[in-house]
Symmetry: C2
Subunit: 165 residues, 2 copies
């Protein structure tokens, strides 16, 4: 009986640690996509009137740490996808790596019970903690997929989709 209760309590579709690793694995791949862009194309290349990949990355920056900070603190902040992170890929990558650490720190402050809690991020995006974080990840995959087309159109082979190391 003790064992049954223990197993039931431990049975998870995905644990918080696995969920974090899933996110960081995707972030490692996105980092490789940033690296794969030639410096000027990261800031200028575009197809069909869409944003350059650097602008998409600014959106990812506006979501990841600010969104998790709201989940942890409960305090609503501004959604701002136009912040200035510099004019070089190196500066974007430095910010990327800082966020990697911050995400780990913030994640450790989200208890298992909180994932089903309702949140209203940036005062406008309703969902649960889990659906919000999945949205962060899905949105990153979505824009990174667009980055793959940008790279291919430049004649550059993107990293393998399954490469998350």
């Amino acid at each position: 009986m003790e064992n049954t209760i223990k197993n039931q309590a431990e049975a998870q579709v995905i644990t918080p640690t696995q969920f974090l690793e899933h996110y960081q694995g995707h972030r490692r791949l996105t980092r490789k996509v940033i690296e794969a862009f030639p410096e000027k194309d990261f800031f200028n290349h575009s197809i069909g009137g869409m944003r350059p990949f650097s602008e998409m990355v600014k959106e990812l920056f506006a979501i990841a740490v600010p969104g998790l900070t709201e989940i942890v603190s409960g305090k609503i902040g501004d959604f701002d996808e136009h912040r200035d992170y510099g004019a070089t890929k190196a500066q974007f990558l430095e910010k990327w790596d800082q966020d990697t650490e911050e995400i780990n720190t913030l994640w450790s402050q989200i208890s298992l019970e909180r994932y089903q809690e309702h949140v209203n991020l940036f005062g406008q995006y309703e969902g649960t903690v889990q659906s919000s974080i999945l949205y962060f990840i899905d949105n990153e995959i979505h824009h990174r997929g667009q980055g793959y087309v940008y790279l291919r159109s430049l004649g550059i082979e993107p990293p393998f989709f399954y490469d998350r190391d």
Copy 2:
């Protein structure tokens, strides 16, 4: 004490039902992207030497129901992303809708305890049940994001990313 045990057992990052709804929400959006393509462009339009969107959808077909069938049955099958589903968008959409029902049926046969089980899908893709299903979803988001660029390059506005109805 009873309540504590109950709450612990029920605390889930994401429940199997939410996970299915997450997948089907993404699939509803992908269906809208298929619909948004002009008939001939669905089969022919390409950027940077990439596959037309119809070929990407064939890959999604090769993964979703065949992958879940393996998870449920434990029997290894072939990964075949070149099956013939017809030469019209209507035929692809019909197959899409059949798969929607099949996915619901298969999902109901995956118990909570199985999500952490090791699988080797199509005899070559190692992971857990949860990481495999997340891969199915992420791969669909990735290719759909590429479909968005195809649509934009054709001057067509894609559906909103958050439209999962």
